[in-house]
Amino acid sequence: MTISPIPSLKKKQIYELAESGKRIDGRGLIDMRKIEINTNILDKAEGSASVKLGDTYVIAGVKFEISEPFPDIPDEGILSVTAEFLPLASPLFEAGPPDENAIELARVVDRALRGGKAINTKKLCLIPGKKVWTVWVDIFVFDHCGNLIDASALASLCALLTAKIPKTEVIGNEVKILDEYEPLPIESLPIIVTIAKIGDKLLVDPSLEEEEVMDCRISIAFVEGKDKQEHICAIQKGGRGSFSYEEILRAVEIAKVKSQEIRKIIPCGGK
């Protein structure tokens, strides 16, 4: 992926607008773009969801596979997140194995789900030390118009929420997969909110044009803990610039509010 050259005129414009609290697409600094979630859009995937975040368009699909557990956690199922930046999603993407941006995205989504204990992986153990469910979440980016992380995290969570996992019967060392299904043991809803720094302003949910000129960004995942409190469950700073302490604390506060707003619009009654 190469960086598209943005005319410095446009860069100047975005910075000046931000300075006066405005954005090139008319949003306020802490406004998200419109979010459209569709769940269960595919039959062959065990769970699926598409998310449109403005024009950013992402599909996540869930598949299951029986595999061996990791030796250090023999009694837990495995969550495995991948992301593909499809070449049709941007004139700058190329076909090929995931680059550092796709890998970073998948790993940040993975950490938010894992850190936020979204899935009770203990319930995905079939035979301790021998057989567990691996939950695959594959993220496909179809249109890259900025802020892929938030859109992908949301699509992944919604796909997991709609996923149906087959019931099983364990006889000795054999696992029999039944033709009955149940929902995944989802126990919390981690939401990532990404905030860009432009000059000394913080902009929520940066568009592609804003990402291309921003100083840097910070992605913060919040989850509601069992104590009904909001907890930070993942953070990732990205980009070439730096943040002051105050900016980071401010970003965390904004993300807390925004993540709660987003969580409310998740379909399936939040489950």
Binding site: A45, L88, W136
Partner: protein
Amino acid sequence: MERKKLISDDGRRLDGRRLDEIRPIKFKIGVLKNADGSAYMELGKTKVIVGVFGPRELHPKHLAVPDKCIIQARYHMAPFSVKERKPPAPTRREIELSKVIREALEPAIFVELFPRTTIEIYAEVIQADGSTRCAAISAASLALADAGIPMRDLVASIAVAKVDGHLVLDVMDEEDKYGSSDMPVAMMPSKNVITLLQMDGMLTYEEFKKSLELAKKGCMEVYMKQKEALESYFKNIKEEK
């Protein structure tokens, strides 16, 4: 080979279709913002999204050709598009299909008009229920049209199979798996020419001729749907302006 009765005694298929009936088709054009052209197709449960870029400069430049545009195509299946998760790296099958899809579309494109450039066609199968290459080709035609790329004709594609001794139109997954032959065909219907033809299985010469006739009928039906979709799409665009 057949393990399962795929055609009922009254000549109906597993999903209730008649032998020469194609599945419900849904087209959506202009579904992506970044791609120069795009289209979404549902052919029954088969679901494909195609995006097109170009004509644009080719990198590295020494691959460019002085008298025409290079067509590139990639056919790719999402890991979640099939029953058993498919790892995302391209398989040999996907590489072959990328080639035949490219060769099915190229005859329709006026490649001479854009020397030294490339047109890239990316077909993403998000759900596979048979005939995915046909859907990729049919949708790609619309994506190319959406990108404003001048074409001799649209390319329409459909598959014919032999199933329990009958020839059936528009093959779905179970018919492909348990049938005794599969023959995907692509045409430029108004030019009456064939741009893709593959077959495997067993057919007599007579059966082959009949299959080809059936494919022709199917392609024509797809073609009508393609034209409808394009018309209403361009009408909407006009109205929006």
